[in-house]
Amino acid sequence: MSTVVSGAAAVATETGKRLAAAEGLNATLSWSQDLLDAEATRVDSMAEPGPLAGMALALKDNIVTVEQPSTCASRILEGYVSPYNATVVGRLRAAGAMIAVKANMDEFAMGSSTEHSAFGRVKHPLAPDRVPGGSSGGSAALVAAGVVPAALGSETGGSVRQPASFCGVVGVKPSYGRVSRYGLVAFGSSLDCISVFGRTVKDAAQVLSVMSGSDPLDATTVNRPPMRVPEPLQNLRGLTVGVPREYFPPDLHAGVAAALRATIARVRELGGEIRELSLPNSSYAVPTYYIIAPAEAAANLARYDGVRYGPRRIGPEGDIRSLYRATRGQGFGQEVQRRILIGTYVLSAGYYDAYYKKAQQVRSLIAQDFRRAFESGIDLLLTPTTPTPAFKAGEKTDDPVAMYLADIFVCSVNLAGLPAVSIPAGRSEGLPIGAQLIAPAFEEERLLAAAAALERVIPAAAEVR
């Protein structure tokens, strides 16, 4: 009798080797071979293998699991282990996925480069001096480096599509309400979506399909049947693809512009119709986002007070106020503190109407832009995912607004709650460029079928001209 190394066990071993080899990227916050092996044993003993049997997935560190710490890359949750699993963790494991890797990120998902991680930034797998994007940069880098075939990130304002674009992988953000947020550590609750990176559209779609569906533990999930994995379209005949003017400014990076021109050409070659249009409120997306998300974050992060869990720091006065100040002042990084201050300010008496209420009104207008576009006969929108390829580490750390503008093409989708995907669209000077497709709410199947068709005809790793 010989020992047969079964499917999942072999994957666990291989994944462990690749993780060890990729340590230099600083893309993980915790993983262990023992845990990987235990997951493999569990998967190999499953009666029904499941659609994700033996797939090793990395999870952004803001998705809680009971086996590993969930720190959100913050000192304030250093060593914190959740006593419960996120809903998606249970669903993925039931489908045969192996979950034993937690990925680095910007602290509490606030950032676009992973440079706000309390545990050091992630290196771009193709260009170590550059950032992988963020906030889900660790997950993106692990997929780009070939360590795992797919990984979970989370989006509040483009935090999966932007790093997917930077790293040259697929990044899918589902409609708000499609995937349970139970167990996703909240940042901006009305925007947060667990989202997926994959090397291919199909891998990402499979993971998303398993996670999707309503959850009695999340009142914001929508009661719809789970998303199915679509068959890739053979062509795009009959599809009208809208190209919004506002996403192609004159100063758009030349490589990005070239990649998008090429993608538009591919759409036409596949029989799709290209139609130019305007989304007039696009320019308000970033300011609107930077009112709503911090306001919600300020409330969501109030619970980290050192009273019940996480490191507690006693302040000099020794009273409870002082404990709060010391715990939060030392536990949160600068960017998180900045956003808590912004969020507290915009909700303050006397400022609420001018900021938060106004931002909600603009948010409705942004959503209305998209709705009108789709009602006018447009099936999908095509835009660049980011205005530039991956930037250099340190380039924007002293200029928060410049960092925020890295999300200019992605965050309106979060405000409108729509599904969108970033697919690799070629490279510029060796750096990946992403093309973004946006669909009406809950039209993930249309979105991903078209993305898969384009994926087949775009030479993702080729230099664009």
Binding site: Y84, A186, P216, A219, T220, D305, L347
Partner: protein
């Protein structure tokens, strides 16, 4: 009275009578060991999300309808942000600018102003915070989060109350309505009803409100009245000596009967309310709201009126019996079991109410009480004997009224032969009184009745004794004349 008019508005928090908490599945049991009814949601753990308790919404809706409020088809949960160690999330989920219900009223009879109608500004749903425990660990404060997430309805009145006595009457009426509707136990001892009061004074006839203060920490309705009396006196004394009333929060001390300002907070709280993005707006269909209205149990005023007409009860009786929903329910069950309504009312207001107040329940079933009342009516038991049987049944509810009466030897004897026997014995034993009776001192008849009752150890039916006595005394006259 004085030239000062008192203006009072009350904020009442009642615990909705649910099995589980407002936004999670933890138990709401009172008195469990600290920090045992907890889960990721009510602990505010990272990633946990609230899901509204449908039963809490239903009960709050019932309460709102019972108070005559308009229940809104759309209301919004909001976050009330502040830091406190008993508040796990750093915010309380409440309702702010879109409450569940608005615009109801509570009416009661004021000893000073006759029928008073107090407006209900709003009723909204929220979760409770935990509790700080200061006396468990010396020099330290502990946190018990069992109460965190308990469902509450906050009921805010208009400033329509004009005296501490009215405040107390309002609370008694409000409590009665909510208990009747099954919305809350409204027990101040168990913390399922809490009262905060806003009070100001102004010159009689003035329409502008004076500066109000908020009074807290009152653990009974009587203490609400006492605290408001104390605060009214304090405000009057201030104003009459040329000082001003400052807008402060005061705590009532039940031992001293005084109110004391809390340590003045330098900055007033800015709660930064905003709609809770974890909870979609609460949408209730008009049909569902109408169903709840239909399903509303009979409320105290209606029940009182009905008891007066349907059972011809005196106003006083109907008021006493309807003071507690359970008492009224018991009363009607006794009548349904065949008892005369007025007799049943007498029982309920006396022996039944005493046991209910002592024990909080009804050990003697309505059917058994009706049986007991029947035994009295048919002459089998005297009222006094029936009360002894009742006391016995209250101790041993499984027993049968008649069997108990027999066992205690309390069955009344109305048999002519037996009665005649006792009567003859009594007349033989008291020749002097018999002679005086025959000489015209007829009021001695009641003396003979008493002696017969004594001799029969209370078993003789007093109604049967009198004719037998008269008949015997009559016969004695005839035989003497012969």
């Amino acid at each position: 009275m004085t030239k000062w008019e008192t203006v009072i508005g009350l904020e009442v928090h009642v615990q909705l009578r649910t099995r589980t908490k407002m936004f999670c599945a933890d138990q709401t049991t009172f008195g469990d060991p600290p920090n045992t009814n907890l889960c990721p949601v009510c602990l505010g753990l990272p990633g946990a999300l609230p899901v509204p308790n449908a039963e809490a919404i239903r009960l709050a809706t019932l309460g709102a309808l019972a108070l005559g409020c308009t229940v809104h088809e759309k209301s919004v949960f909001a976050r009330k942000n502040y830091f406190y160690p008993d508040l796990p999330k750093g915010y309380q989920i409440s309702q702010f600018d879109r409450p569940l219900a608005t615009g109801g009223s509570v009416s009661f009879d004021s000893s000073e102003r006759g029928r008073v109608r107090v407006g209900i500004t709003r009723l909204h749903v929220e979760e409770d915070a935990g509790k700080l425990v200061h006396d468990r660990f010396p020099g330290k404060t502990a946190v018990d989060l069992n109460r965190a997430g308990i469902p509450l309805a906050e009921i805010v009145s208009e400033p329509d109350l004009r005296s501490p006595i009215e405040a107390r009457a309002y609370l008694t009426t409000l409590r009665q309505i909510l208990v009747y509707a099954g919305v809350s136990d409204c027990s101040m001892e168990q913390g399922s009803l809490r009262v905060d009061a806003n009070i100001s004074i102004r010159l009689a006839g003035e329409s502008r409100l004076g500066t109000k203060t908020e009074v807290k920490n009152m653990n009974s309705f009587a203490n609400v009245e006492r605290a408001l009396e104390a605060e009214r006196a304090r405000q009057v004394a201030l104003v009459e000596t040329g000082q001003r009333v400052e807008q402060v929060t005061l705590l009532f001390n039940a031992v001293t009967g005084q109110v004391k300002p809390t340590r003045s907070k330098e900055e007033s709280h800015d709660y930064r309310y905003f709609p809770d993005p974890d909870l979609p707006p609460l949408v209730l269909s008009p049909t569902w709201i109408a169903e709840q209205r239909t399903g509303l149990p009979e409320l105290p005023d209606a029940k009182r009126a009905r008891l007066e007409t349907e059972y011809a009860l005196p106003v006083y009786d109907a008021r006493v019996i309807t003071s507690e929903a359970e008492l009224a329910q018991y009363f009607e069950a006794v009548v349904d079991a065949g008892a005369d309504p007025k007799i049943a009312a007498n029982w309920v207001m006396a022996d039944v109410m005493t046991t209910f107040n002592d024990r909080g329940n009804f050990p003697v079933s309505p059917v058994k009480l009706a049986g007991l009342i029947g035994l009295v009516r048919e002459g089998t038991l005297s009222l006094q004997a029936a009360k002894r049987v009742y006391a016995e049944l209250a101790q041993a509810p499984d027993q049968d009224p008649r069997a108990t009466a027999e066992r205690l030897g309390l069955i009344q004897v109305s048999d002519q032969g037996a009665l005649a026997g006792w009567v003859d014995e009594v007349l033989t034993a008291h020749p002097a009184e018999v002679a005086r009776y025959h000489a015209g001192e007829t009021k001695l008849l009641s003396f003979f009745v008493g002696q017969v009752m004594k001799r029969s150890k209370g078993k003789a039916d007093p109604k049967g004794v009198q004719p037998v006595l008269q008949e015997r005394l009559q016969r004695m006259v005839k035989s003497a004349a012969r």
